[in-house]
């Protein structure tokens, strides 16, 4: 299976007066699995559809494997069917008037492949999604999860250069979704096909991607590996949208202008050791601390960096973790700890976190 590189530069998509995508630039490397993550209306699906050729952009450039498929400057817009990409739709779009086999064979028949090859490729694709026994079944009789698998098999059967996924798991129930996530990641690794995936589910994005592109209001907020996005959120939006984080207001104290460790004076007193990914400009007024990265102890602060005293106001038992709301001089902080060592409501505690987990956000 050949792989292609996708280059998008300065993509703009307008619907009348509304700018859905506003100057998005992005490169997807060969064989890479990139996820566009963002709330509804952020332009992620529109970007994906523009790559597929289903949406006509009004500006910018899209290249697939070096070939320009859209260019505003050259007034070129290659039709969807000539781009050699494939897509899994949110609604699955499994054709109800065909059998499972006919659905999966569609892309192969379009390419007028010999009969035996079609049969072989369909079988291979159905094997990959464990739907081989359903080949003769009418597609109208499938369950949601089965339709999902058929849609996936159909998308990979004709060995496309690029696979696009438009929220493919959003219509499945939670358990099935978790299973399909594992399978999708596995499949993507085995096929090694370049893929772009769209979702609003941050857990899903972190779990299955090589890189995550966080989008908001038509633009890109941050691009990075899942660990990067989680551990080093660049903006308040990313810290808020991906995972759960505490935002502490204040200002940078020693304005050395270097990336790395900085001292941050939080409103309400304590001075924190924080981490700046980029040289601070001085306009920064917030640090983010992941709720999972804060330790709780009953003993008094013992001079460690970033220790804050507080009182547990509320305890919520979630099963996999316990969430505490702790009142502290910097405001109410949310802390998530494993359920192994519970603390009581009303207890006086000391919170602490490592300087590299206290991330300075862009102003």
């Amino acid at each position: 299976m050949s792989e292609a590189r996708i280059e998008i530069s300065n993509l703009v998509v307008r619907y009348g007066d509304v700018v859905a995508v506003d100057g998005v630039s992005l490169t997807v490397r060969q064989g890479e699995h990139v996820t566009l993550l963002g709330p509804s209306g952020c332009g992620k699906t529109t970007t994906l559809r523009a790559i597929a050729g289903l949406e006509e952009p009004s500006g910018g450039l899209i290249r697939i494997d070096g070939a320009t498929v859209y260019s505003a400057a050259e007034r070129r817009n290659v039709a969807a069917e000539k781009r050699g990409v494939s897509m899994v739709f949110q609604s699955y779009a499994v054709w109800p008037h065909m059998s499972v086999f006919d659905n999966v064979a569609y892309g192969l028949r379009v390419r007028s492949l010999p009969r035996e090859e079609i049969a072989r490729e369909v079988e291979r694709a159905l094997d990959l999604v464990q739907m081989r026994d359903f080949a003769r079944r009418s597609a109208a009789l499938l369950s949601g999860g089965q339709q999902q698998r058929v849609a996936l098999a159909r998308a990979i059967a004709f060995s496309p250069r690029v696979l696009l996924f438009d929220e493919p798991l959003s219509n499945l129930d939670a358990k099935l979704r978790a299973e399909m996530r594992v399978e999708l990641r596995d499949l993507q690794r085995r096929l090694g096909v370049t893929s772009v995936y769209v979702t609003h589910d941050q857990e899903e994005a972190l779990a299955i991607s090589d890189r995550v592109v966080v989008m908001n209001i038509g633009g890109i907020e941050q691009i990075g590996t899942p660990e990067d996005i989680y551990n080093r959120p660049k903006t308040r939006f990313v810290a808020d949208f991906v995972g759960s984080a505490n935002l502490i207001a204040g200002r940078v104290q020693d304005d050395a202008g270097d990336p790395g460790r900085v001292t941050f004076a939080a409103e309400g007193g304590p001075t924190l050791q924080a981490w700046a990914v980029h040289p601070p400009s001085g306009a920064e007024d917030r640090v983010a601390v992941r709720t999972a990265y804060i330790d709780i102890a009953l003993d008094a602060p013992n001079g460690r960096a970033n220790s804050i005293v507080g009182t547990i106001r509320q305890r919520l038992f979630h099963g996999d973790f316990i969430q505490y709301i702790v009142d502290s001089p910097v405001g109410a902080l949310t802390v998530r700890r494993p359920p192994t060592e519970p603390f009581d409501e009303g207890a006086a505690v000391t919170l602490s976190f490592a300087p590299e987990h206290c991330v300075l956000l862009e102003g």
């Binding site: 069917e81 739709f89 609604s91 379009v110 159909r154």
Partner: protein
């Protein structure tokens, strides 16, 4: 792709726009013609013809009276039937629901003929029986404003029924249930929740039915003329039939009728758009039904009675009459004969009319539905500029009364050197134009149900537009196409309003032939023809139910 689509859209827009607008331009011009001779453009224009309408005030008053009365009855029938069939527990509901749709396919012409056989003064079956048992005078007289309204209401009642039950079905039962949970009783819920939510639907149906009544011709023609009770549509017909034909007067009447009908339908659109609340979500709910106890049988009886007086009784009367030499219900006096069917099916003008109607039905349905499919695709799927205008143009003929459109076509093509007046070609063109809204609406219902990504997926898989159309779009549209074909076929076979002005010696069709045989006072031959027409319609109807049931449980 976009440029190709734009060109196609523009071409179709020009073609449809021409078909619809062009004849009306002629009609408007003629309505201002006060020169005394028929020419286009008129040698002298003025408002004289419209001023003359004031002298016709009794015609206008008659039209308003009959339309109001008929609307009132039709909506009463429709509301009661809709409520009974959607909101109460009733024995045999699915069958009854299907039977309730039959009157629509009976056509007012056939119904009016049948009811004149049943209830005409002196000779009507009911009055024959009345005299037979020694009654004096007439028991009933259908040759009256009430008779006209009665027959019109019987056959429009179904339309009201379908529209009102759609409103009732699209109401989420949770809206009523939450009122009940909050402590409101059955009646309070009905008054404060159910009625306000259903009202826009009822109001919409009332206005729509009223517009249809204004433009209806057959009942007023068959039942009104013997009593010299003239409404606008029959006045137009008389003006054209008089010697010499008074086209300016007919045109002015037609334009006035069109203006009122257009205003009424605009009001209908405003009501339907404005009064939507939460009721119309496009989703059909199965509403909670109430157990009515013994009252259920009364309601069942009422619905069944409607089907009997609108379908069974008329068909029985026609059947009996069509086999008699002279129509009589007193069987001891009757002379049975096949002569009427021999006359209808033997070689001659009548048989030619039957054949022509079938040819037109098949032809218009086949070519028309193909064109309509493309139109629907452009209106609802393409982003080609102007697709909104296409929708408007395509739906426009609905706002033009059939009679008026027929008159406009007559006038337009008389003035054009293309010799298709008096041929089947003009009839075909006219049918296509007036049936555009019907076909497009039927097809649109199916197109809108097809998820767009089903088509997009085909493109992404590498299919060209035509390949996608052939392998995905068309197969998914098939049930809708079959339904549209049969509906257009049915509507062509029964068409009267447009045809009556466009038939010629070499281009006769069935409905106007029924009218002329009626005029030559042969109710027996008319009955035979009406039954043949009804048979063709019902055969198509059965095929349609069979064909569409396989794909969906919904009747159309």
């Amino acid at each position: 792709m976009p440029s190709g689509q734009s060109v196609t859209t523009a071409a179709i827009l020009m073609f449809c726009g021409g078909l619809v607008v062009y004849p009306l331009v002629y009609l408007v011009a003629e309505s201002f013609n006060v020169s005394g001779e028929d020419s286009f453009p008129p040698a002298e224009i003025g408002l004289g013809n419209y001023a003359d309408l004031i002298d016709d005030w009794h015609v206008l008053a008659n039209t308003a009276f009959v339309a109001c009365l008929a609307t009132l009855m039709a909506v009463a029938i429709g509301f009661l039937a809709a409520w009974t069939l959607t909101r109460t527990k009733l024995p045999g509901r699915p069958q009854l629901e299907r039977l309730m749709q039959l009157p629509y396919y009976m056509t007012p012409l056939v119904g009016a003929l049948a009811w004149s056989i049943i209830a005409a003064p002196r000779t009507g079956f009911a009055n024959q029986l009345w005299h037979g048992v020694g009654g004096a005078g007439d028991l009933v007289n259908v040759y009256s404003p009430f008779g006209i309204a009665w027959v019109m209401a019987l056959f429009e009642g179904t339309v009201a029924f379908v529209m009102i039950s759609a409103a009732m079905k699209s109401m989420d039962p949770a809206l009523e249930e939450s009122a009940r949970v909050m402590g409101a009783g059955k009646w309070r819920t009905m008054l404060t929740v159910t009625l306000p939510l259903v009202m826009p639907g009822v109001l919409g149906a009332t206005i729509f039915v009223f517009a249809e009544m204004l433009g209806s011709f057959a009942a007023a023609f068959v039942l009104g003329l013997p009593a010299r009770y003239v409404v606008v549509t029959t006045a137009i017909w008389q003006a054209v039939q008089s010697f010499p034909p008074d086209y300016p007067r007919a045109s002015a009447l037609g334009i006035a009728l069109f203006a009122v009908m257009f205003a009424t339908l605009s009001l209908y659109r405003a009501v339907v758009r404005g009064g939507n609340f939460a009721t119309i979500t496009g989703k059909a709910f199965r509403p909670r039904t109430m157990a009515m106890g013994r009252l259920a049988w009364v309601l069942f009886g009422a619905c069944a009675l409607y089907v009997v007086v609108a379908v069974v009784l008329p068909l029985a009367a026609l059947l009996l009459t069509s086999f008699q030499r002279f129509a009589t219900v007193i069987l001891a006096q009757s002379e049975f004969t096949f002569a009427n069917y021999e006359a209808a099916l033997g070689f001659g003008a009548v048989r030619a009319a039957l054949t022509n109607s079938l040819i037109l039905g098949v032809g218009v349905a086949s070519i028309g539905v193909a064109v309509m499919t493309v139109l629907v695709w452009i209106i609802y799927r393409s982003r080609a500029p102007g697709h909104v205008v296409v929708e408007y143009v395509v739906m426009f003929p609905q706002a033009v009364p059939r009679m008026v459109f027929g008159l406009a076509l007559l006038w337009a093509w008389l003035n054009i050197p293309i010799p298709i007046y008096g041929t089947l070609w003009l009839l075909a063109l006219a049918y296509f134009t007036v049936l555009l809204p019907l076909g497009v609406r039927t097809l649109a219902g199916v197109v809108l149900q097809i998820d767009k990504s089903l088509e997009e997926c085909a493109r992404v898989c590498g299919a060209s537009w035509f390949y996608q159309l052939r392998t995905v779009t068309m197969p998914l549209l098939r049930p809708g196409i079959i339904a549209a074909w049969l509906l257009v076929f049915i509507a062509s076979v029964r068409e009267l309003g447009v045809s009556i002005f466009l038939v010629g010696p070499k281009a006769k069709v069935i409905a106007p032939s029924i009218v002329s045989s009626w005029l030559s006072s042969s109710s027996e031959l008319s009955a035979a023809l009406a039954l043949l027409q009804t048979a063709a319609v019902f055969i198509a109807l059965v095929v349609m139910f069979r064909a569409t049931r396989r794909f969906s449980g919904e009747p159309l």
